[in-house]
């Protein structure tokens, strides 16, 4: 193993301070990157508002998981922490007004980043809809998905810049609208 890295890469000084190092390295796993399994949005009443699965599961399984999770999360009291272990996953959830945002991550993943991702998504929704509320998401649920898809891809953060995400969405929307006009203006935007 020792030949793996070129010797010049290390200086003499590198060869000291083992203890300190080890301590630090333990913590690196805390800074994990995200590999999200799925994201659920549901209301206080337990109504699902949005679901995004980054792992392929059958509908039956999805329903079962959703049911279990919604129950578990709703049963928790407001003061409790945002994390729970569930099966072999970690669940990170946060409540915004009447909506719960709930993500499942793997064991090594970082809960705090996940919270940030949730928050970032809420911010994006907020920017896009202009003080977003549950109804916005219900009535424009496809937009909510589009935004999510621009932000996360396959469970990984694909764009860290809020501006870029919104720009991509707006441009895609523009494209959609111009096509709709071609088509005779009878599209859903008249309704």
């Amino acid at each position: 193993m020792s030949v793996l890295l070129p010797i010049w890469f290390f200086s003499e000084r590198d060869l000291f301070e083992t203890q300190r190092l080890r301590l630090m390295l333990f913590f690196f796993p805390l800074l994990s990157i995200q590999q999200m399994q799925f994201m659920l949005l549901f209301s206080r009443q337990g109504k699902l508002r949005l679901q995004k699965w980054y792992v392929p599961l059958s509908d039956k399984e999805k329903k079962k998981i959703t049911r279990e999770l919604v129950q578990t999360v709703l049963a928790r009291k407001p003061k409790m922490c945002s994390f729970l272990e569930w099966r072999d996953l970690k669940i990170v959830y946060k409540r915004y007004a009447s909506l719960y945002f709930c993500c499942a991550i793997e064991d090594q993943d970082n809960e705090l980043i996940t919270l940030e991702i949730i928050h970032r998504y809420v911010e994006l929704l907020d920017k896009y809809f202009g003080s977003v509320c549950e109804l916005d998401i219900i009535f424009n649920f496809e937009k909510a998905y589009f935004i999510l898809d621009e932000f996360l891809l396959g469970g990984e953060v694909q764009e860290t810049s809020k501006k870029n995400v919104l720009k991509a969405i707006e441009q895609a929307d523009l494209l959609q609208e111009s096509q709709n006009e071609d088509w005779g203006g009878l599209s859903e935007d008249i309704l």
Partner: protein
């Protein structure tokens, strides 16, 4: 047409759109299901219409319904229709619906391949984007295989928006189609240095994700990541890189030291730090700060604080142990997440010193705990904590047994079997404790009615199983054997589960035997007969048992005892013989012992030794539990009653049968081992723990008493120790041998209360030390455990990629084998970045060629040979020549990093160099090809002044600077320190592309090391196949038909026999190796198309017969066609 359109729109005005649907559902709260089923009917009508807008609207509504939990899989085909709409508006909805409801089981998904491919290559980046997004949700192994190359191409798209997505989705592709990893990896690596931060971060993301699953394969990237870490300012990227280093550092400790400085800098310089960074800071700087986190009222922080602690714990148990109070406090938290975390921590925190105390606290929690789940969790934790590392922390086993006994008072736990297993394990392995254990178990048996009150739901009665066995097996330690026997014969016992009764029955005989012996020795004949009578009276209740096992054992034993009674009546002493039934000692066998037995050479376990037996011999299969073994031993030692000879014969026969029965070994290996050749007791490996006085606590033990006693004892010990110290006597303790790691002085001071032998579990001789069995073979990431540094082999293929073997050249007098591998891509002469700029908006085809391995042996300057390491090398190389080239390769250079392909040489340990080729074809320039070579230095010496030269052919020439002659090499514009790789590009001009080309070349370089510098060179061959001039170009069937009709194409055909692979696979091979794309496929017939960089059209018609494949080809150039077909024939004949 227009009318139809308008009509469609008018129709549509009366349809519900999504908003109407949502409103409708909200307005029909009472009869939602009915309303929705109405809506679904409407949707079905809408889907039948031709108007794509109507369909899209319907699909959009369906997507909403899907979220509400309705099944919409029936509409999968309609979804695909909407996906293929030309308008982005609809396409977007189609892909959304697909990503929500398609999964691997969706059968129509295979219909999407071509549509997705088309969208991926759409000029509109949002079409591509939407396709990529969708694909990320429903990619299947088939899609991954078919589209891997397209996605790989997109990784070099001009728009960062697309590159970013393509890079991310590659990870999903790798998971589904691991073969794509190696061919795609070089480009992925390239993206680490992408000018766009988003793409860069995506690449970091994917590589980190890959690396953390299998870090060892990515170690060679460390320098690159290190550079990124010191240069990047994007926090998200930094986080990921640091994470990656976290995974790499355990493999390369020096790396960690290297990281300290940049990390510290980062921590101090970043001002806008997220909470996360704050946390990291805290964590790195001081464990003490974690305490603040845990004490915080914010539950999130508390949770993370505990989590962080458990990570520190692994290295610095001391620093965490001082926070024991806090952690114990967390056990009381109302939040279960937090309690469980705290429990985890406790597991790692115990030491000899605090074990008793911690367990005592836990026992209090067990009593208090509400809800069986948490209580069960506590119970398992207590057992885990105590039994960890071979009972390392237990100083007093009496205490442990009493804890176990106390745990049996838990009602409703599911974990009775855990407690039972512990009791058995301790009693078997800790000899000194047997007497005590037996007395406790006897008490349990006596109180069985308490434990087994409601047996059906109660898992705790499992402990009776252990209790009965322990009392029976070690009955010599039992004081009141009579009483215990009676307890076991109580009628109530028959309500226990069958397997427990069976153990009861078996062990009462053992008890009986020992009582009999006692009585006989004492001359109490009457008492002996009484006990026999008791057995005969009570056993029938078991004979009537519904459980076969119990019944069988009971009737056997009943007969035996009746026989004994007869003998007793004749006043024949029988005890000796009865006791002989159970002679011998049981040794514990390690759980994986059987697996570790190496299979002797030449033994094929699956081969039949004799013809398979006709009748079932299943009865010979070994039952799993320890106790069932008794039977067998029984038969071995049953001496007096049965004719010895007959017995021996049967035994022999049985052994024979067992040996012949292949299932025998499988069914329960370890117990078998135990019986086959039980070594004498003196052979049992024993770990000694010294010292101290055994304790006896009268009456029902309370573990608390032990805690108190233990404290006193330790105190006393300490005093003694102090005395000793004064006398300057130091004694070494045996303990040291067992665990010398974490023990501080104070801990060593605690000597175990008993003279304890812990019998280590037996392992077979020659046991293999592998721990492979710990790995989950189903782990999806395991498939990605791919050595990326190993050069690509020709068997590895991506669709539309190509690997070829290049013949090896051997020069007769060469000393040292060289290995060269190259991958080529036909590519424009211009440097890559230029290409990118120029090609904006144009479709760019990149192809990767896979690597060719060329092994060449190289002449070497003889001066070096005298050095020591050389001699070794020479010897090695001789060996190598004999062995296969590949083997040599993997043995010698398991670690080098390779891109697309590698060209390496290993003239000495001094210099070695790996090269990778990348050839990219571009439609803009029809006579040039760029070969990108990645050189990697695998030696420990410095390589410089590298020059690459090829022998030009008439057709193919290396582009040299003006004024230089054909004999001048092109200098490689860099030097290579050891282990480093870098890329150089060489441009070749081509006259004609109709023929394959081979160019010989030489790389010369100067090797510089401590011993001076030498000039070395390395020969290689470049192979430009015809297929490498082709560019995968999609073609639609109408255009294809026109092309064929035009009539100005030459025709040729081949036929290859003996093809056994599926047609699908075959097409994939052609696409992959020869850069074709499928135009149309009908049954076992397909049309394919490709285009050369000089604009030749190549059309193929591939037909598969039973065992053969025929390919008809048409092309503008007949030579090109025949060469291509020849190449194809070669590929196919290998199938």
């Amino acid at each position: 047409m227009a009318l139809k359109m308008v009509k469609g729109s008018i129709d549509r005005m009366f349809d519900k759109n999504l908003q109407d649907l949502v409103r409708g559902i909200r307005n029909h709260k009472e009869d939602e299901a009915k309303y929705i089923s109405q809506c679904i009917d409407e949707i079905k009508q809408e889907l039948k219409q031709d108007n794509i807008a109507v369909k899209a609207n319907a699909v959009c509504k369906l997507t909403y319904l899907q979220m509400l939990g309705y099944d919409i899989s029936w509409a999968a085909f309609n979804i695909i229709e909407v996906m293929s709409a030309s308008k982005f508006t609809f396409k977007r909805i189609g892909y959304l619906a697909a990503s929500q409801c398609f999964h691997e089981g969706t059968d129509v998904i295979m219909l999407t391949t071509n549509q997705i491919r088309k969208d991926l290559s759409s000029p509109n980046q949002y079409d591509t984007g939407v396709a990529l997004t969708g694909l990320s949700c429903f990619v299947t192994p088939d899609l991954a295989r078919d589209l891997a190359n397209d996605i790989m191409t997109l990784m070099s798209h001009t728009k960062p928006y697309i590159r970013k997505k393509a890079v991310l989705i590659m990870y999903k592709v790798f998971l589904k189609y691991p073969e794509s990893l190696r061919p795609a990896f070089p480009r992925l690596k390239e993206k680490l240095e992408d000018p766009d931060p988003g793409v860069q971060s995506a690449a970091v993301n994917v590589i980190c994700e890959l690396a953390r699953r299998n870090p060892k394969n990515y170690l060679s990237l460390a320098p690159l990541f290190f550079k990124l870490m010191t240069s990047s300012t994007n926090n998200w990227v930094l986080i990921k890189i640091i994470k990656l280093f976290g995974a790499l550092t355990p493999l390369e400790p020096r790396l960690g030291k290297k990281l300290i400085e940049p990390l510290t800098n980062l921590i101090h310089s970043t001002s806008a730090m997220s909470l996360l960074y704050e946390c990291v800071n805290t964590v790195i700087l001081c464990v003490q700060k974690l305490r603040i986190l845990i004490e915080d009222s914010d539950q999130n922080l508390k949770y993370l604080g505990l989590l962080a602690m458990s990570k520190i714990l692994k290295t610095h148990p001391k620093s965490v142990q001082s926070h024991k109070d806090l952690i114990l406090q967390c056990l009381d938290d109302k939040d279960e997440s937090i309690r469980l975390r705290a429990l985890d921590l406790l597991y790692g925190m115990v030491s000899k010193k605090n074990l008793m105390e911690i367990v005592k606290k836990l026992m209090i929690h067990v009593d208090k705990a509400e809800g069986t789940t948490y209580r069960d969790e506590l119970l398992t934790k207590i057992i885990d904590i105590c039994s960890q590392s071979n009972y390392q922390y237990i100083t007093n086993f009496e205490w442990y047994i009493s804890i176990l006994v106390e745990l049996t008072r838990l009602e409703g736990t599911r974990h009775g079997h855990l407690i039972a297993a512990q009791m058995l394990d301790v009693a078997i392995r800790v000899k000194a404790i047997r007497k005590f254990a037996v007395s406790q178990m006897a008490m349990l048996l006596d109180n069985a009615h308490l434990i087994a009150s409601n047996t059906q739901r109660n898992g705790i009665c499992e402990v009776l199983y252990a209790a009965a066995w322990i009392c029976g097996e070690f009955s010599e330690h039992l004081e009141e054997a009579n009483q215990t026997l009676e307890a076991m014969l109580r009628p109530k016992v028959t309500t226990l589960p069958g397997h427990i009764q069976a153990v009861y029955v078996q062990n009462m005989v053992k008890l009986y035997a020992s009582i009999l012996q006692q009585k006989e020795q004492a001359g109490e004949k009457e008492a002996a007969q009484e006990i026999t009578q008791l057995m005969i009276e009570r056993l029938p209740q078991f004979v009537q048992s519904a459980d076969l096992e119990v019944q069988e054992r009971a009737s056997c034993i009943l007969q035996l005892i009746k026989y004994i009674q007869k003998l007793q009546a004749k006043e024949v002493p029988v005890a000796e013989e009865v006791i002989a039934l159970f002679a011998g000692e049981l040794n514990p066998v390690a759980p994986k012992a059987q697996k570790k037995v190496p299979v002797p050479e030449g033994l094929d376990l699956d081969a039949w030794i004799n013809e398979p037996p006709s009748d079932s011999e299943s009865e010979d299969e070994k039952p799993k539990t320890i106790f069932h073994e008794e039977e067998q031993r029984h038969s071995r030692h049953r001496q007096p009653e049965i004719d010895e000879e007959e017995l021996a014969r049967r035994r022999e026969a049985r052994k024979q049968e067992q040996a012949n029965n292949p299932f025998y070994i499988k069914s329960s290996p370890s117990p078998q081992k135990r019986y086959q050749d039980t070594p004498g007791v003196e052979h049992i490996p024993v770990v000694q723990i010294d010292l101290s006085v055994p304790l006896k606590v009268p009456g029902m033990p309370m573990s608390d008493q032990y805690v108190k006693l233990e404290e006193e004892r330790r105190h006393k010990q300490k005093l003694e120790k102090d005395k000793k110290k004064k006398k300057q006597k130091k004694e070494k303790r045996g303990k040291h041998h067992r665990h010398n790691s974490l023990h501080t002085e104070s801990e060593e001071d605690i000597a175990p209360a008993h003279h304890v032998d812990i019998i280590t579990e037996e392992m077979p001789e020659n046991a293999l030390p592998s721990d492979e069995d710990d790995k989950d073979p189903n782990d999806p990431y395991k498939a990605l455990d791919i050595d990326l540094d190993k050069p690509l082999a020709d068997s590895e293929k991506l669709p539309v990629q190509r690997h070829r073997n290049v013949e090896a050249l051997k020069s007769p007098d060469s000393e040292v084998p060289l290995v060269e591998k190259k991958s080529k891509k036909p590519k424009k002469k211009e440097k890559k970045h230029k290409d990118k700029e120029r090609e904006k908006g144009k479709k760019k085809e990149k192809e990767k060629k896979v690597v060719e391995e060329e092994e060449e042996e190289k002449k070497k300057s003889s001066k070096h040979k005298k050095k020591k390491h050389k001699k070794e090398k020479e010897e090695k190389s001789k060996d190598k020549k004999k062995s296969k080239k590949k083997t040599h390769h993997s043995e010698e250079e398991p670690l080098e990093s390779v891109q697309n392909g590698t060209l390496e040489d290993e003239p000495l340990p001094v210099s070695s160099c790996a090269q990778t080729y990348d050839i990219q074809g571009n439609l803009q320039n029809d006579s040039q090809v760029t070969v990108s070579v990645i050189f990697e230095n695998k030696s420990t010496s410095f390589l410089k002044s590298m020059e690459l030269n090829v022998l030009d052919s008439l057709n193919t020439k290396m582009l040299r600077p003006e004024g230089s002659s054909v004999h001048d090499g092109i200098p490689v514009p860099f030097q290579l320190p050891p282990g480093i790789s870098n890329e150089a590009q060489f441009v070749f001009t081509l006259q004609s592309i109709v023929m394959a080309q081979k160019l010989k070349g030489t790389l010369s370089f100067i090797v510089k090391n401590d011993e001076g510098s030498t000039h070395e060179k390395l020969d290689f061959k470049l192979h430009f196949s015809c297929a490498s001039y082709l560019i995968t170009t999609p073609c639609y069937s109408d255009a294809f038909a026109k092309l064929l009709e035009s009539g100005d194409l030459h025709m040729n055909s081949i036929k290859v026999d003996g093809i056994s692979i599926s047609f699908q696979h075959l097409l994939a091979k052609i696409c992959f190796h020869h850069h074709f794309s499928v135009v149309e496929r009908v049954d076992s017939c397909a049309s394919m198309y490709s285009r050369s960089i000089q604009g030749h059209h190549v059309c193929l018609l591939v037909k598969k017969g039973e065992n053969s494949v025929s390919i008809d080809g048409k092309c503008n150039d007949s030579t090109l066609l025949s060469n291509l077909l020849d190449e194809m024939k070669e590929t196919l004949s290998k199938c």
